[in-house]
Symmetry: C2
Subunit: 221 residues, 2 copies
DNA sequence: ATAATAATAGGAGATATCTCATGTTTTTGA
DNA sequence: TCAAAAACATGAGATATCTCCTATTATTAT
């Protein structure tokens, strides 16, 4: 992790200005962080220091269970707040965020800024909308995931995440995302292959029968 | 559903004043609703008219899937906002809320009040905290539910919901809450019985071996 | 370039959970 | 109070998913 200064800092502050989210001058309170691939932006159990706003990169929100299982709760892509829960409630971080590529984050010092933020209607309104969208997305995901077998959810996911009919996500990540074992994910992929819906290629899978895939996805509400 | 007037209305407004959540006079915008057991406070697909704040009763938040499955997302108990997501985003209701006993709700007219609410830092701060707690609770529930078998989750739930070692929830509801079949819930109850941890009685179950039950619950993060 | 690490792949058997079917008991509404 | 509806109970067989194991590629770091 690097704290950017000088020209680099200025560049990102200008390219991704977030002043419009606040009704007071936020610039004195912002740092620009650069996280390398694999770095932790936030670690479970540590004390929050910054409210982060990711402007570039891609990260993963994780939680680790007692039994050693890891749940990938979500993929995080800009623009997104991170650590806003801990800004609102005096709590340690309960989840981890790890980058999956280089990430640029604006960090607003909680210590210096908390009171101002919690009194700023403009920011609070934005945050409320952000939180409510997050909540909706989350509850949609999980109620779906509870009500349908992996085959349907995977069909939906392949359609969403493939480009030009090519799917190339990492099995290890996706199995954690769906909360199923690696083995079972593989098994479901080969089912789809055997049904002639997708086809294994060097770099991943190719969608052969989009209609059937869509039909599987459409079984989900 | 009844709109209360006169003395009844005055009684609830006084008993459960929510003026402290707002920095403007909210009283002109509040109605008092009484819902009977089984009534829908909110129905999927309908247009939001009120931001509700439940002060008495108990209700259930549901979603219905294409495949006919129903997920009981949560039990709602006072004090709680309902319909706040739809206040923030211009959307129809995406879930249903049905009472499981008589409920008293304060209803704030969205049409008359939306602008004032979304500019009130005091209210927005409260709402942010509410939403963030909801989000945390939700994500905790679902990551747990994905990572542990019913036996553990049920053990935790029995401990939480039993009084004086007596558990008496409805199987039909609880199976929907956990997103498992009725059959499987029953099966898990009899496992716990066979292990001598609980015992079936007329009105429900009695906790026999609290330590073992706690141990099962403790396997969960 | 090479060793270490992470990701892919698939077999085999166990277990958690589901669906369907059927009967009994309790609760509820007219 | 009686019939209908909801809730409880349980068997049997199917299926979704898991764990453990063992190889074979890719990637990454020194």
């Amino acid at each position: 992790m690097n704290l950017l200064k000088g020209l680099e800092k200025a560049y990102y502050l200008e390219a991704y200005t977030i002043q419009s989210l606040f009704s007071f001058d936020i610039s004195p309170f912002i740092q620009v962080f650069q996280f390398d691939k694999g770095d932790f932006i936030i670690q479970e159990g540590t004390e929050p220091e910054y409210l982060f706003y990711m402007v570039e990169g891609k990260a993963k929100l994780y939680v680790t269970h007692k039994n050693g299982k890891v749940s990938l709760i979500n993929f995080l892509t800009p623009p997104i707040f991170m650590g806003e829960i801990e800004l609102l409630n005096e709590e340690k971080y309960s989840k981890s965020i790890q980058t999956s590529s280089k990430c640029i984050c604006l960090g607003i010092s909680i210590e210096k800024c908390k009171e101002k933020l919690l009194a700023d209607a403009h920011f609070l309104k934005y945050l409320c909308i952000f939180l409510s969208n997050k909540s909706t997305a989350h509850s949609t995901k999980y109620t779906k995931h509870q009500a349908y077998p992996l085959e349907n959810k995977l069909a939906e996911f392949i359609l969403l995440s493939s480009h030009q009919s090519i799917y190339k996500e990492k099995h290890t990540e996706i199995s954690e995302y769906f909360g199923v074992s690696y083995r079972h994910l593989l098994h479901t992929f080969s089912q789809l292959s055997e049904a002639g819906i997708i086809e294994k290629i060097k770099t991943g899978y190719k969608v052969i029968d989009k209609k059937k895939l869509q039909a599987l996805a459409d079984e989900i509400k």
